[in-house]
Symmetry: C2
Subunit: 180 residues, 2 copies
DNA sequence: CGCCGATCATTTACGAGTGAAACACCTGCT
DNA sequence: AGCAGGTGTTTCACTCGTAAATGATCGGCG
């Protein structure tokens, strides 16, 4: 028998992914370091990076960037006009970024801005027909692409994972994001 | 009895986090859409974003940016000199970005570059004493901070989550990152 | 031996995001 | 009514990352 895979801290899934190698390297150099949090945080970050990179592929065809698509999605799913401030909160980006993206998207005829009648400081942003059609055509592709990417896990595993992440996220949002 | 919380697709943890609200909005507007992948992908992305934002806090004190710290960490944990190309692969960023960061870090006396004797194209990057001391002093803080952030989950949940993410990541890396 | 293609690092030009300041407008108070 | 302070959006100056071009060097092959 070899000496790998039998340490109590190493589960079976820890053997092969990048984070596991990183953890082994740290253990070799600084054995007394408690690297346990990396197991989660490293994997969340790395998964997010890989997914982000992969997810962008279906969006490239319609020439959209991911944050642009999220902005359009926010408008589509709320079903009403939103202000730039709303959009910034909804897409977790800065107000300045939203302004820039709106310039792009209005230029392409996907969204429309109009100033609110009651309060002339605020502008209301809504999807045009073209914008709505674009979202409705891209979103199913995007979702089926995502489903395919996740198919390495079976339904039960995906469910447990989503549930645990939901719990983590609830905690994090309560603790780290008082703004909501 | 109310109608919330009893749909088969909604686990108990789905009730409160941001992603759950987004899913409800989509269901109200496009009920026939299979939003299941969002449950995972949305949560991974959102968790990563929150963690990233939080994690940067302990690094600000020594005036380090996250990618800079990851570069230093790669040098520390491998325990040897690395080339810019190695560092780019190790930190998942472009070569140009690495060059820029090396300029910063050599300026601060945290790393040293020397050209390889055998192959004068390649440059070998190593930690200075100050660099190693910096990593060794910041890393434990960083890890205990992370442990604190994750404390909303108990040990068993963290373990299962890490395991499932490890499995997912293994699949993703096999499929999406042939370069390794 | 000398050239040709490949490889590694760096430079350059550019696009995208950010925080802080600026601007427009509203609301409450006197 | 008029001003003070607050809120919503945009602009500005800057930083950072990237892709593509550049420069330097190696290895092999005629």
């Amino acid at each position: 028998m070899t000496d790998n895979g039998n340490r109590p801290e190493d589960g079976p899934a820890d053997a092969t992914d990048t984070v596991a190698t990183v953890l082994r390297q740290w253990r070799d150099v600084l054995p007394e370091l408690d690297t346990d949090p990396m197991r989660l945080i490293g994997r969340i970050n790395r998964s997010a990076a890989l997914l982000r990179q992969a997810e962008d592929a279906p969006l490239r065809r319609p020439g959209l960037t991911r944050p642009e698509f999220e902005l359009l999605g926010a408008l589509r799913r709320t079903g009403r006009e939103l202000t730039p401030g709303d959009l910034a909160r909804e897409t977790f980006s800065s107000g300045a970024a939203v302004t820039k993206r709106l310039k792009q998207l209005t230029g392409r005829g996907l969204v429309e801005r109009r100033t609110d009648a009651r309060d002339r400081r605020v502008v209301l942003v809504g999807l045009t027909a073209a914008g709505r059609e674009l979202v409705d055509s891209v979103l199913p592709e995007q979702l089926s692409f995502e489903a395919d990417v996740l198919s390495g896990l079976d339904a039960e595993e995906r469910h447990r994972l989503a549930e645990l992440l939901g719990k983590l996220l609830t905690q994090l949002e309560g603790r780290l994001a008082p703004r909501l």
